[in-house]
Symmetry: C2
Subunit: 333 residues, 2 copies
């Protein structure tokens, strides 16, 4: 049987993961059975939420199994099909496919992508889970109204950059927070944010209040920690805080401590809500119909950081935790 | 001009207030002008939220002014009327009346109470702001479904006791947390909670998980701090947390610290929302229509702690912060 390369999850990390948790194996590629497809990976997605799947125990997605393949979003070409709806040459996307150079999967694990609408890799980003995460979190929890101020942390990331651009499209003031001068420039000059702040420079509180003269109505939080504390202090009455991620302490080994915001949330009637995009599958079509025309018209730009070569997957994933990516981090096979 | 007694706000407290912030003065009672009423106070409400009004600066209710009367909910008898809608002898209720033995106020500051439905003092509690707070917070933010588990902190208080009884009426499991064996007994034996926990005994986590075998779907939080941390650890996926009050640190002089729950809120898709009953005035009629028949039928019981004598108001208010009240704390003139 043909052998293909696989990125194997070698060991559960404690704290910040390093290269020792990955192993490259050769595994057999079974022939497709009835209802199955054989795929050749084109683009692989690495995402911050994968850190949670490296821990044992209950979470919203089952944990990765040690000695099995890691898995994530993949855009792939169909190389053999035993399902009448797919032909060799079709380009498909699956949100939970194994990290193998080629793979045999049930046809139900993938959907065809419309390459006429956008480059195929966009289905791992702005037209995939990250774009939909931005759309659902901002619209359903943030409920933006024209003229309001939307602050986004992790703003140069795959989700954050789309949040800011949707906010601008809806007539809001968009203010992004990111971790370098280069990212801050990208936010205002490329993504069109009204203002952007480098949280690694001193005076975050002052710069936030200068950038948000009317306070903050929506805080779309990808980061958590002290950056979030600074934004919380500026929240207006009736502010909404979609909690999308907390990457600043994904690698923490104990629950971190910080200010208890609950009293302030009472005083200001603030709403805070965690959400997981998997639970909004019935809304994906609506989200893609909202996003696709804006992407096609250039109103929502997608920034990708692309690493070349299947074997770069571990490095690309680890790079997320040191802020190496601008926009969506992708590995091209 | 006739003189009446007034409880004056003598000085802003730092931290836990004591008797030195109050002063009893004699002030003139003006004759009512066109559109005004003269009232004689019958029952005065003391409420935890008043602590916030003792601080300077912006909050959801304007701060008390030093050397002016304190104010709060009062049930009073009309002694003179220059408004055709009111007659001497009518019993009225106003949420923000001055703490005076008699007072002259605009007729628009009060509403008549229906004494056939419930004793007049109930309009300071279960049919007033505290009952409506329980109703709105539980229904609008908690969104209870039959079979779910509702945990209430400050459960023996004026709001908490009503939350638990509404939850029971809707077919939920109601679990109360309070600070003494006496209150715990009151919760299960009088108010009909399914279980109640004394947070001053050791093993809060264990006793919570025993009392909530299916986890916690709604946590109605009046208290905050470490009691809330224990409940947060038991929250189910998609749990809702109405934040009504945080009395455990109303007297704190710095923002207290505690676990950062945001990461957990993402993982479990948890919603947390602060609210202020003043912002729901358009729903008060609906709330009273829901509560009044249940009160009349004895399905929602009201517990009052009544102090006798107008001059007991300062002591009654201070008593809230040491847990002296069971149910609604009221002063009878």
């Amino acid at each position: 049987m043909k052998k293909v390369k696989q990125i194997t999850f070698a060991a559960r990390p404690t704290g910040l993961p390093d290269a020792s948790i990955f192993r490259i194996d050769e595994v057999p590629l079974p022939d497709p059975k009835e209802g199955e497809l054989q795929l050749k990976g084109m683009f692989y997605s690495v995402d911050p939420y994968m850190r949670g799947r490296m821990n044992e125990g209950e979470s919203y997605v089952p944990p990765f199994q040690v000695n099995n393949a890691l898995e994530g979003g993949v855009v792939a070409e169909v190389t053999a099909s035993r399902d009448p709806k797919f032909q060799p040459g079709d380009v498909v996307h699956g949100p939970y496919l194994p990290w193998r150079t080629e793979m045999t999967v049930p046809a139900s694990a993938v959907q065809k992508v419309d390459a006429s609408l956008a480059p195929p890799s966009y289905y791992l980003g702005v037209l995939g889970m990250t774009g939909l995460t931005a759309y659902i979190g901002l619209m359903d929890i943030g409920k933006p109204k024209a003229g309001e101020t939307v602050v986004v942390s992790g703003a140069a990331g795959a989700v954050g950059s789309v949040v800011g651009q949707i906010a601008k499209h809806l007539g809001c003031r968009a203010v992004g927070i990111a971790g370098s001068e280069e990212k801050v420039k990208l936010l205002t000059e490329y993504f069109g944010f009204d203002a952007a702040i480098n949280y690694n420079e001193p005076g975050l509180d002052d710069r936030l209040s200068t950038s948000c003269p009317n306070g903050v109505d929506i805080y779309f939080d990808n980061v958590g920690g002290e950056v979030s504390d600074a934004v919380m202090r500026q929240l207006n009455f009736f502010a909404r805080v979609p909690l999308c991620g907390q990457i600043s302490y994904y690698n923490a080994t104990e629950v971190p401590t910080g200010p208890r915001w609950q009293g302030f949330m009472v005083t200001r009637s603030i709403l805070m809500q965690g959400f997981i995009i998997r639970n909004y599958a019935s809304r994906f079509r609506e989200g893609i119909e909202f996003l696709a025309p804006l992407v096609k018209a250039g109103k929502i730009k997608s920034e990708e950081t692309v690493a070349e070569g299947f074997e770069k997957l571990p490095e690309a994933l680890l790079g997320l935790f040191s802020g190496k990516n601008k926009g969506k981090m992708i590995v091209k096979a």
